[in-house]
Amino acid sequence: MSFFARFAQNRGALVGLIILLVIIAMAILAPLLFPESPWRMVQRPFLPPLSQDGFPLGTDTMGRNVASGLMHGAWVSLLIGLVSTSVALLIGVPLGAIAGYYGGWIDDLLMRFTEFFQTIPNFALAIVLVAIMQPSISSIVLAIAIVSWPPVARLVRAEFMSLRNREYVEAARLVGQSNTTIILRQILPNTLSPIIVLASLMVATAILLESALSFLGLGDPNVMSWGYMIGAARTVIRQAWWLSFFPGVAILLTVLALNLVGEGLDDALNPKLSRER
């Protein structure tokens, strides 16, 4: 069975993939459909949805187009999700690999270091980091990456520990391959599938984290993100429900889609495991 066929066997994953593609399309099409800045005050404030042509989702407290904000926000959310996950992988994978492969005191040292990050509540640490570094896209990405790499490190370490004594690794060692080569060329490729599954879920968590930070007013004040839209609408929720509702639904769908896709990837990459389930 091909990879995609296995993936598509999971109906939920297929739905998730479709939603995700729609959101990616939104992000790409945003500058074409709404070439004007989403910050532009274009109409009377507090216009309800569907009450005026060109403003299907209404306008916000300042007369900005909610639909435009939602589309441009998709780009911000996806970008932050992807970039921060990549950064987290860049930190977590090497640390986990080294700890798992070498074991002993190196493992102890790296794992205590990892635990240090794990003991501090994620969100609290992210708030502190962003507040210290001044809110901007890069500081938010970095903060999210710093709080989300420990699970990656632990997962990769566990995989490495179970694989490092396999026969093919022993063989590579006998042939005289260096440790670096063994880590990069022999073991790492075999740990990729759980990493990919984890990464897809991390993107979802990162989007949630970014939204929560923006909601608290710690977002980049120069970009329109979904979390910002909800945070700004919070004070007027009694007058204008749609301002928090649409970005809220967008976050919900994106996170749901990413979770479904992650599950589908899990099925597709670990066919044995999923059949046993």
Binding site: W39, M41, M62, P135, G217, L218, P221, T235, R238
Partner: protein, 518 residues
Amino acid sequence: MKTPLALAISAAALAFATAALADDPKSGGTVNTIIQPEPPGLVLGMVQNAPTRTVAGNIYEGLLRYTTDLEPMPQLAESWDVSEDGRTYTFHLREGVTWHDGEPFTADDVVFSADVFHRELNPSARAVLQHVESIEATDDHTVVFTLTQPFGPFLLSFEAGTFTMVPEHLYAGTDFRDNEHNDHPIGTGPFKFANWERGTVIELVKNDDYYEEGLPYLDGVNWHIIPDGASRAVSFENETIDVLPSGTVENFDIPRLAAMDNVCMTEEGHEYFSPFAMLWMNNREGPTADKRFRQAVMYAMDREFAKDVLWNGLGNVPLSAFGSNARFQNDDLEPYDHNPDRARELLEEMGYDGEEITILPLPYGETWTRWAEAVQQNLREVGINVSTQATDVGGWNQRLGDWDYDLAFTYLFQYGDPALGISRTYLSDNIAKGSPWNNVEGYENERVDELFNEAATAFPDAEREKLYREVQEILHEDVPVGWLMELGFPTLYRCDVQNLVTSGVGVNDGFKDAWLDR
């Protein structure tokens, strides 16, 4: 442009005026209101924070009160004379006034308060006292202030919050800050301090021995302390709270609360403070150092939009540095209307190369954040490359004190006279690193210094007016700072609370005349 809300207020004010005429005041009842945030202490002069002024202005009194047009009214001083040369002020005190502990109030208390207590503790009173040569009690009920030279705004300085009267018999010879009576303030006012449950409520009760016959009408005033903005709005909605002083709920809640049955709103009662929102522009470096750039910013901003959308149409868009509630406003100046084309022209003329500048919003809540977003968008639309930097209050203070900014939001009180509240922003000897409240923009103009200094001590007012008109013309051309808005800070209250705002400081001394029509 008048918004429906502003019209509704005028209508409500009219209805209120007729109602007040029709009925005779009734005595009795307690009013529940809100103080936000909780004040650090209640001894005026020792503590200068706005919430202290609001509560304690009903316990303590000054020699004078001020109408909403900032004309002096008698309070502890029954009448006053000013000598022809403008240097001698004689106050005739009311007789039969007692402190809350029963001791009589005399001229000696005035001399002690002004010459000893405020000189030591109160920087804003000290600024006025530097013009005073001597303060003498010529008999038990007469005090004479002799000035070194005429000082135009002198009569505006006797408001309770600025120059309160404190009891000499309790404070003389003690360590003021450590005095045991600080926890139980003793004044001459219509209400006595009763109880302060920290974090919950400050209770004031009627002063039965008050010297004005029949006043106050109320049995007491409870100032509730509710830390969360949404809860404050709800407590007003469910009628546990009768009066919302300005600034106690978010602007976005005001139209909803004002539209409720039996709720009245007034914009009066802030004339003395008249908060003036400004955009600091760094005159020292970067594009903002160029006058044409600063003018372009003024033309680029849509200030009427901000007023209508963010401030519910309340307040006033000023012509230049002098607000409508300050005296001597020069209204012949041409307004800086929203004119993006003119802004682009000016930018082109100066050869603006797209250098990035930053905006620091004022970290005082949602309204200010939205306002910064609007200004940022206005500036981008004329081609200014601008980005926003979010800070907290500490960061904001520090960045401004270090002059590390391009554009920054702030607001300042005008105190009714240019010499008290306006000149401080433009005088070059008021440039000092470390404070966000002085001449932060770094504007230096010898002629402006001269005019402001001369005008402060010129006599009579016609002379001052001439000088101030000229200074406004220069400032209007130079745009040292951006003039955003004179803020409208409305007070919301149940319509059956009558006669609440009767002075230029509103509820700060308003409960004296208030009564409940229940």
